[in-house]
Symmetry: none
Subunit: 105 residues, 2 copies
């Protein structure tokens, strides 16, 4: 079980973000993002946590350790993004999924 700081760093590296980039995406300062990754224990506000989770495409619940698998968090984050799309784009995605399933079947 990894800490919040480790989760943030791992996800940031995986996405190839620098501290500055993640700071900008999450409307934080570079120094603060660094503190979250390195200081013990990091205790960000719910707001910051939500922004960082969104920037890293995971749920706040995953960062908080309230969620089991990274795969599950990834799926939920995907679904969240999907839900925010407009209806026509949603349908596009749905059709693409059907196509993939058809060729795979």
């Amino acid at each position: 079980m990894s800490t919040l700081g480790e989760k943030i760093r791992d996800l940031r590296k995986k996405k190839g973000f620098t501290l500055d980039q993640l700071a900008e995406l999450s409307k934080s300062s570079k120094s603060y993002v660094w503190e979250l990754e390195n200081k013990d224990p990091p205790r960000p506000s719910g707001e910051k946590l939500a922004l960082i989770a969104a920037a890293l495409d995971v749920t706040a619940d995953y960062l908080l350790g309230a969620e089991a698998e990274p795969g599950t968090a990834e799926d939920k984050a995907f679904f969240r993004k999907y839900q925010k799309m407009d209806a026509p784009q949603k349908q596009q995605i749905r059709e693409m999924l059907d196509i993939i399933n058809r060729t795979r079947k």
Copy 2:
């Protein structure tokens, strides 16, 4: 779209908790729980948020407004289909969604 305070109060009432009870369940003080429900705007830490979400049987993401209310049947059906796919196909779909969002932006 309701505020964090309204969500907490509604969920608390629905479960029949008093302020003191929710405070105890979420390891907070009664005065602070009241502030979360009534002060504008409440800015709880991620920790507190997770504890309160757990006490109220919801996700922190829901309280943060990052998780939508029970969506349409169409969306849920789509998500169920998606979850049944294998990892590589899931990633394909995720990448396609990113592409659509990127070109729309």
